[in-house]
């Protein structure tokens, strides 16, 4: 809502500077979002006299003027033609800064020096458009005085951000009422006077409201003999000051009254209304209608239209029709002031994408009690400014009176909720300042009837808010609540979420956050099988862009896109993870599941900035190490790594499923080269995925710790020649399968293929540490144990010693 300081001042006589007023409004909940002081810094724009005006020697359309500011004369080049020698004009002197940060400098225009500029109203920010420069009445103003001061144009423009509940403040009077209530002043209500003829309005026009639910009140006046023309200066300026362009006197008046009183009005050219009548009804399905803006609209039966005897002439509360708009030839007018159902206006306006000042107000609700007053105010102004005369009275179709009902209000309840202690009289006074009717009921309960324009006040709590607001939020004492001790501690899920994040970060990974919506093509890019459940994603019905139109079922696409984006910026060494939800539809359930998943990607060099040894490139085992640490720290038991049936997006030879017992909890693998290409990634990337929800179920805690043995250990190494496809896990399992409690630790310390090793085989070096808990093992004991181990390896796995 735009409003100016001077305009407000017409309704309430406050004694505040513009800055103080802005602060007061903001603290009342009418947030001043922007403020512009008109004329500020324009003291170098002064009244000047045109002493001489002649043709510019080098340009047909320019003139060369000698202007005097009372002290000095300057040569100024001017492009406008609408003035003569001897006129008083507005001179922006050298150094003046016009709106839009336009600084006036001495310049040369087509070879002639120009020391200043003669200004138009537009250039001074006084009008949206102007024709030629501003010409002042001669010999009225002292030369050299600042124009804004002498013309009384100093004003301050406020842009107020209104919350949707404050429909009443979509008008100058609404904001003035707030100021008056806060300061304890009276609002200066002017009662409109309309010059009327003796013709009864009913003899001229007729109004039928078919659907009173959607149009609870419709009032109209008939004005004949008007002359459409330009608006007077004051009206144009008022509208310009709040950003509305002047059209003609009648249309300007309807706009002016809407801004002043908050009631949208519409003027129809009566000559275009068939049957001189108005019918308010629902539109027919598919009915066509051309609005004022020249757009043809297809209507539905959910839309409310204003019709004449034959056809629609306006879209109720939104916009008039081209077929009945006010034109220069218009002489008689049907002036409408009505109240339409907010939901209907909102639905139609939304569906048609047609948002107007009028629809904005109707959607929020207007003052049904003020309909006729606004009609009279506008009619009075039309008669005054466009001539003509109004028929006697107005048609007011108001089938069932809607009046605010009384609210039972307990002042102590207000005090208790707010945390203040206002005396009863003060509370009553505040309510009366808000123009509520207050009467005592009994037991200290008040009966409060809010004014009809405050459609947001319906309940006791609404009045509590009014008291808090008028009292001032800043005057409410700061207290700490008294609360009972509670025994909440973070759930296991919450604790582990934090823990997992920290474990991954401690291993050098950077956490990323991607959007939850993704590209519907992501499943294809991952080469997911046709029956993969991750192919079924929840679709947005109104996505912003197609690439963000489905809810992700996997975190991998976002992760891989992040890898590609970083590589484009030449960040090639990456360790990234994301821990977020995925969205899985569930058959026969309306709500999907939103399990938390963890994914990670690593690529590039495994160390950061090492200067004295070559750094290794990240491979599968670096990533597996990260996952092993994670699972170890969360005490997930029974973990195994299966290389079969891994996901399609992995390299089939460099990937595995992570199992806990028989349950798959995740996977690790190098990204398949085709998928890598699909995501435009230049270099190999190894990823992991873990189902966090399963981790939560499987994670244990360390509850039993064994004391270390106090006896010495003995380590024996074995070099084995094993078939290529035999997994090291089998070797370790076989060694541990000997089930000697003296085997303390088994470690693979070298795997080698190449020179000296036959094709199809690999050399594996294993170190086994033996130790007893109760004595020092003898050489013989160790040798016999070790023989058991080697025998088992030879017999069970069919491998040989090197």
């Amino acid at each position: 809502m735009n409003v100016t300081y001077n305009w407000l001042k017409e309704f309430v006589d406050f004694d505040l500077s513009p800055d103080q007023l802005a602060e007061l409004l903001t603290m009342l909940g009418l947030e001043v979002e922007a403020m512009e002081k008109l004329g500020e810094g324009l003291d170098d724009v002064v009244v000047a006299l045109v002493e001489e005006k002649r043709q510019h020697p080098n340009a047909d359309k320019l003139s060369l003027c000698r202007v005097n500011n009372g002290k000095e004369a300057f040569d100024v080049v001017c492009g406008a033609q609408n003035f003569n020698q001897g006129d008083a004009v507005v001179l922006a002197q050298i150094g003046a800064i016009l709106p839009g940060d336009f600084k006036i400098k001495k310049s040369k225009i087509r070879g002639e020096e120009s020391s200043g500029m003669l200004c138009s109203e537009k250039e001074l920010g006084l009008a949206v458009e102007s024709n030629g420069i501003m010409v002042l009445p001669s010999n009225v103003y002292a030369l050299g005085t600042p124009v804004f001061s002498v013309l009384g144009l100093k004003d301050t423009h406020f842009e107020i951000g209104l919350t949707p509940n404050r429909a009443d403040c979509l008008s100058v009077i609404g904001i003035a009422r707030e100021i008056a209530a806060k300061l304890g002043l009276k609002v200066n209500y002017q009662l409109p006077v309309v010059a009327e003829s003796s013709d009864k309005v009913g003899s001229k026009i007729d109004v039928v409201v078919e659907d009173t639910d959607l149009c609870p009140r419709y009032a109209a006046r008939f004005i004949s003999g008007c002359k459409i023309g330009p608006s007077p200066d004051w009206l144009v300026k008022r509208l310009n000051a709040i950003g509305i362009r002047s059209i003609n006197n009648v249309v300007d008046i309807t706009n002016f009254v809407m801004m002043e009183l908050g009631q949208p009005l519409h003027a129809f050219d009566c000559n275009c209304l068939s049957g001189n009548c108005i019918v308010v009804r629902r539109a027919g399905e598919g009915e066509l209608f051309t609005t004022l803006d020249g757009q043809q609209r297809v209507l539905t039966s959910a839309d409310l239209v204003i019709c004449d005897a034959e056809r629609p002439v306006a879209l109720a509360g939104i916009m008039g029709g081209q077929n009945s708009e006010i034109e220069e030839s218009t002489t008689s007018i049907l002036l409408e002031s009505a109240c339409f159902n907010p939901a209907v206006v909102r639905k139609t306006s939304k569906r048609l994408g047609l948002h107007t000042e009028s629809s904005h107000r109707f959607e929020r609700g207007i003052d049904i009690g003020g309909v006729v007053r606004a009609l009279d105010r506008a009619a009075g102004l039309i008669v005054e400014l466009a001539g003509g005369i109004s028929a006697e009275g107005c048609l007011d179709v108001y089938s069932s009176m809607i009046e605010p009902s009384a609210i039972q209000f307990r002042p102590e309840r207000a005090n208790g909720l707010i945390g203040i202690d206002l005396p009863r009289e003060v509370v009553i006074d505040m309510l009366r300042r808000l123009e509520c009717l207050v009467s005592e009921v009994n037991n200290g309960v008040l009966s409060v009837v809010p004014p009809s324009y405050r459609i947001d006040i319906e309940r006791e709590i609404d009045l509590v808010e009014e008291i808090a607001r008028l009292n001032g939020f800043d005057k409410i004492p700061v207290t700490m609540p008294i609360a009972r001790i509670s025994s909440d501690r973070p759930s296991r899920h919450q604790q582990l979420e934090k823990r997992v994040r920290n474990i991954l970060i401690d291993q050098g990974m950077n956490e990323i956050i991607n959007f939850s919506f993704t590209d519907p093509g992501a499943a294809g890019k991952l080469m997911l099988g046709e029956d993969d459940p991750r192919r079924i994603a929840i679709k947005l019905t109104n996505p912003l862009v197609d690439e963000q139109s489905v809810m992700r079922t996997s975190l991998l696409p976002g992760l891989l896109e992040t890898v590609a984006r970083n590589m484009n910026f030449r960040s090639l060494d990456l360790k990234l993870f994301e821990m977020r939800r995925v969205y899985m539809p569930v058959a026969n359930e309306d709500m999907p599941l939103e399990p938390l998943f963890i994914v990670g990607a690593m690529t590039g060099s495994s160390d950061c900035d090492v200067w004295n040894r070559p750094s290794d490139m990240i491979d599968f085992y670096d990533v597996k190490g990260v996952v092993e640490v994670l699972l170890d720290l969360l005490c997930v038991g029974g973990v195994s790594w299966l290389s079969d049936e891994t996901d399609t997006y992995y390299h089939p030879g460099k990937s595995c499923r992570i199992m806990a017992g028989r349950d798959q909890i995740g996977s690790i693998g190098e990204i398949h080269p085709t998928v890598q290409e699909n995501f435009l990634i230049e270099k190999p990337v190894v990823c992991f995925e873990v189902d966090f929800e399963k981790l939560v179920k499987l994670s244990g805690s360390k509850c039993s710790i064994t004391a270390p043995s106090r006896f010495p250990d003995s380590t024996r190494d074995i070099a084995l020649l094993s078939p290529d496809d035999l997994q090291s896990a089998a070797i370790v399992a076989c060694i541990k399968g000997v089930k000697a409690k003296e085997i303390e630790h088994v470690q693979i310390f070298d795997v080698y293929t190449g020179k000296g090793i036959p094709d199809g085989f690999k050399s594996i070096a294993v170190s086994i540490r033996y130790r007893s808990y109760d004595r020092t093992l003898t050489d013989d004991e160790i040798s016999s144990l070790h023989k058991k181990v080697t025998d088992s390896l030879l017999n069970k796995l069919g491998i040989s010693l090197r």
Partner: protein, 338 residues
């Protein structure tokens, strides 16, 4: 013999003095005191002396051996110290070369702020609550007193999904879900991801909020001011000015926007605070009775407040980030700074 002994001692002490290294001194010890050493040889000659002379010369031999021994010990110590000193001197490294670090990761700024805010409220006895991101209209709007076709819904441009569900536009539905499960007293803090169809430098279609809710007997608007003052002081530093001004949210009444004194200019006015000296960081208010009605609480006997804030906004203020999109581009050059 005495002369021989004195001569030996004199020569020994000279050579000990001249020897600079441990090895040379060890050699001297062997040469003089070893089994075949010079002093040992002289001692063997003791037998040839008279019985009267023997004790005195014997004593002399012992004292000379002790003196040589002592001189050797001290010289060896000195030589060792010297050698150590020399070694240390030669082993100087360039300490300005970078250390070999274990890789360090970083927590996303959004996660950091969520953790910090939740920690602050945990200290005030608020438990963390969560809820689904794909929601029913009822939890996201209706139960929060946003009637269908109400302009208040325009404050939140909604993404809709299939099955009449929507992406929650705020974390407030968690209030409803919690109150339906639990009776007062209640103190919860609900962080989460939310969605609105809006995208530019200051709006992201996905962003994060934290919602707080306290319901008990006798909770006042003054208490809300108290909790928010404590919170902003803990998050932005002691004595951060806090201002509440009237606003509107369908699910609270009275409602307030909460401003803090601009953390950039300290309230003097700058570009970030649009010269107002204040930054809007929170929405808050007393829970509307209509909300209590939807969750079957008795509004006559309890009262409470709710508040909510945008995590991105706080992260941007804390870290001086001007473009929200940076938070979701996941550029490691950005992330590694946290």
């Amino acid at each position: 013999m005495r002369e021989q002994l004195e001569q030996l001692k004199k020569e020994a002490l000279i050579s000990i003095n001249e020897a600079g290294e441990v090895e040379q001194l060890q050699d001297i010890r062997i040469r003089l005191l070893g089994r075949k050493g010079a002093l040992t040889a002289l001692m063997k000659g003791l037998g040839s002396l008279s019985v009267e002379e023997r004790p005195a010369v014997g004593q002399l031999v012992n004292s000379i051996r002790d003196d040589i021994e002592a001189a050797l010990e001290s010289s060896i110590d000195t030589a060792r110290e010297h050698a150590k000193f020399e070694r240390l001197r030669s082993e100087r490294i360039d300490v300005t070369l970078p250390g070999r670090r274990a890789a360090t990761g970083t927590k996303h700024p959004i996660s950091q702020v969520i953790e910090e805010v939740c920690d602050i409220f945990a200290g005030l006895g608020f438990a963390v609550a969560e809820g689904p991101e794909i929601e029913h209209d009822w939890y996201n709007f209706e139960a929060l007193n946003f009637p269908p076709e109400h302009p208040a819904r325009d404050m939140q441009d909604t993404f809709f999904v299939e099955n009449d569900l929507l992406l929650r536009t705020h974390t407030s539905p968690v209030q409803i879900r919690t109150m339906l499960k639990q009776k007062p007293p209640l103190r919860i803090i609900a962080p989460g991801t939310v969605y609105r169809c809006d995208s530019d430098a200051t709006h992201s279609p996905m962003f994060h909020q934290i919602e707080g809710l306290m319901v008990d007997t006798g909770v006042t608007f003054g208490d809300l001011k108290g909790i928010l003052t404590v919170f902003t002081n803990l998050l932005f530093g002691q004595k951060t000015g806090v201002r509440l001004r009237p606003s509107f949210f369908p699910f609270t009444e009275p409602s307030a926007e909460v401003d803090i004194a601009c953390v950039i200019c300290g309230g003097k006015g700058c570009r970030v605070c649009k010269n107002s000296g204040w930054l809007e960081i929170l929405g808050a208010g007393m829970v509307d009775p209509e909300v209590y009605r939807h969750v079957n609480y008795d509004a006559e006997n309890i009262s409470g407040f709710a508040f909510g804030m945008g995590i991105e906004r706080i992260a941007m203020l804390k870290y001086g980030i001007t473009d929200m999109r940076l938070l979701f581009e996941n550029d490691v050059r950005f992330l590694r700074q946290f």
